[in-house]
Symmetry: C2
Subunit: 435 residues, 2 copies
């Protein structure tokens, strides 16, 4: 089969996956580098789970709705069902429980990987997600929860985001209220959705039709209003009577206090009414948002029950960045702090390549990006090539006008030329001349 | 389902894939960082192809044997057949031809990704490969071929390998000889295998049974001996009469000459008898080997026909590292130049966390890895935890013996203590004290 070249994204890849060309790939690299560097400085160590697993074992760590999203196929070797993970956390839990019992707790682990999820045809959503995240296993203290949120703030700052928001919840608060009400699943779901929409009217009308204690009714009726700045926690503690919800509020308040010491206050919002996140969460959860992007750029929370499912009970918390949402956010934001490395095109006019190759190696040692212009064409075309590919300087070796030991540095932006001696280290150190 | 925790690799992942725990993951990160850095300094720009593609479109760039190795499944959305790529080069060719016609040639592109390949059950081979590679599209000069080989040598040196070998071939040499002989596929295959084994006896006995020109017979008979150092090229040119093979030798000699300018001589071996690599190769090919590892750590070559299959004909060359083979090589080699960052465990004895968190942030700004010891336990246990997890120093905030503004630096290796003022920048700059 031969295909016709067309600059056509639609025809070249399936819906929900993307080719990332150099401009976007560079930004993704920048994002992942900042994330990984932060994770490492906070003492997290990388692990690399495999691209596919036994479906049955992976499913242990997922709820059914996520499980249904995984890409599955039969193993030609074992004839067991395999799956490509739709989420990396269950893989980390499996590895921690089944492979790392020799390491002392707590474990600080990070990963960056790509996962696949089946989505509705018409949703237009990505089927391939880039996840970079951490798991902190073996600690139940609020300080561990705060560590997750503080790290996410540090990464967002390092990426240059301003005006980001971190939205905190505590799933036990909602569960504490609901456990006193013996509601059918359909009523519970309807309530949950109206609360998430902050739709007090619908919540009240649902409550009129059910037979549950009055105190619980009034607690539920308040839920659509239980979001906003940190003082929501204080307000909620005046409304809510049940112990489980009150413990949840105390726990959340401690996390907020520790975050204040980290210098994180104005970025925080609280939402006690929304049960977001995956069903395995058991405590404080959070999501991060950057300006102009509707989807969260990160999210996570406590999941004290998950490790036990893999046979090694332990408290745990974690979160992950959605790297492609961060990419979108960066593309919309004005400031991108991409480190700029001078790019040079080296144009050799000599028959002998020795001088050109030696100078190239020397420039690379200085940290410059140097592409050798191997193609046979005239200098004018090479300068045009440099301009179109974002290269700032052309260095010409063997220009007839120059001395044998000299080269010419030509600025692509304005065409100015500067002769220098190829062995002049001091000149080569002046990176501003090349950028 | 609940599972029983066992430290058992066999039961936890399918055959042919691996969990990489922190020690190995760190080495993989080190390898990929060195590779990417080199690719970038040589002017290559990253692209990120998707994890799956339309099988039909991917197959355009693969021979049948590779195509059979791909993991395939039906697209729930389009009902077309999808495949997870067994090799990234066809993806790059597709992207270049169908998506990058707006960029001027040549293109220097790099990628690092993971691919899946079906393998025989009993082979014990990996089904998941980590590939980091480049494609240089739009250049037919021997200098472009030399650039690939020189880059691979630079990476192997930067990784600390000594005594590595780069084995060069030229597929046109073999094809030139064989095109004069009208041999059946089965005879051709038998010959190819005996030549690869350097089995002159079998080669001669096969030749006795076939009816081809004498000059071709003598050329073929020489093939099992046409390997060794660079002077093999000279010897071969005395033996071989056909033009196609002679042009191949000239081309290979030019590449070897350019590599000499790059300082690459002793590392080179030549093998004119082995047709390795993928069937899309059309010129110089090479493979890299490091001591004690039988499988190549990198390989590639010229493939001038591939781009045309995607509708945009262009000369091209490229190569990829097999990252897991490099990992094995590093693990067997004595010297690993892993950059060492001091690791600190911060132990807070104060009720108030402010001083501890401030010092932690300051140490991280200095580039130290700092894990906060959040768990409640006594200092002795913390030191033991640090020892077992490879942390060099414990910093204690709020030790009763110290002044309010002081902290204690405790070396894990010998238990020595040193008191310092937490705001003493000069002390914090002395990274040797912490490592």
């Amino acid at each position: 089969m031969k295909v016709k070249a067309e600059n056509n994204r639609e025809n070249s890849v399936p819906k929900g996956v993307t080719d990332f060309l150099p401009e976007q790939a560079e930004l993704i690299g920048f994002i992942e580098e900042r994330i990984n560097r932060t994770f490492e400085l906070w003492g997290f160590r990388r692990i690399i789970p495999p691209m596919f697993e036994f479906e049955e074992l992976l499913a242990v760590g997922m709820d059914d709705s996520l499980r249904d999203k995984s890409f599955r196929f039969e193993d030609r070797q074992s004839h067991r069902l395999l799956a490509i993970p739709p989420d990396i956390t269950p893989q980390v839990a499996r590895i921690e429980a089944m492979r790392m019992s020799g390491y002392p707790l707590p474990h600080r682990l990070y990963y960056n990987g790509r996962v696949l999820r089946q989505v509705e045809s018409q949703s237009g959503r990505s089927r391939e997600l880039f996840q970079s995240g951490v798991e902190l296993i073996g600690l139940e203290s609020p300080e561990a929860d705060a560590e997750m949120i503080a790290m996410s703030a540090e990464v967002l700052r390092k990426l240059g985001f301003t005006g980001f928001k971190l939205d905190l919840g505590q799933v036990e608060f909602f569960r504490g209220i609901m456990s006193a009400a013996d509601l059918s699943l359909s009523v519970l779901k309807a309530l949950q959705e109206s609360i998430a929409r902050k739709d007090s009217t619908t919540v009240r009308s649902i409550l009129e039709s059910v037979d549950i204690p009055d105190v619980t009714k009034s607690e539920i009726a308040e839920l659509p209003r239980m979001f906003g700045s940190a003082d929501v926690i204080q307000k909620a503690s005046l409304t809510v009577r049940n112990d489980r919800s009150r413990r949840a509020l105390d726990n959340l308040a401690k996390v907020v206090d520790i975050l204040a010491i980290h210098g994180i206050r104005d970025e925080l919002t609280i939402d006690l009414g929304e049960i977001r996140g995956l069903s395995y969460h058991t405590g404080v959860t959070f999501e991060g948002f950057v300006p102009d992007i509707g989807e969260p750029v990160c999210g996570g929370g406590r999941y004290d029950g998950l490790m036990g499912r893999y046979g090694r009970p332990a408290p745990a918390t974690g979160f992950a960045f959605n790297v492609l949402n961060l990419l979108q956010g960066l593309e919309k934001s004005a400031v991108i702090n991409l480190p700029v490395t001078p790019k040079i095109l080296l144009f050799n006019m000599k028959e002998d390549r020795t001088a050109a190759l030696e100078l190239t190696a020397r420039l690379r040692e200085k940290g410059f990006i140097v592409a050798r212009d191997i193609i046979r064409r005239d200098l004018h075309d090479s300068i045009e090539y440099a301009r179109r590919t974002g290269i700032q300087s052309v260095v010409i070796v063997g220009d007839l006008a120059a001395d044998e030991r000299d080269a010419v540095l030509l600025k692509v932006s304005d065409g100015t030329r500067r002769v220098f001696t190829m062995t002049d280290q001091a000149f080569l150190d002046r990176s501003e001349l090349f950028s």
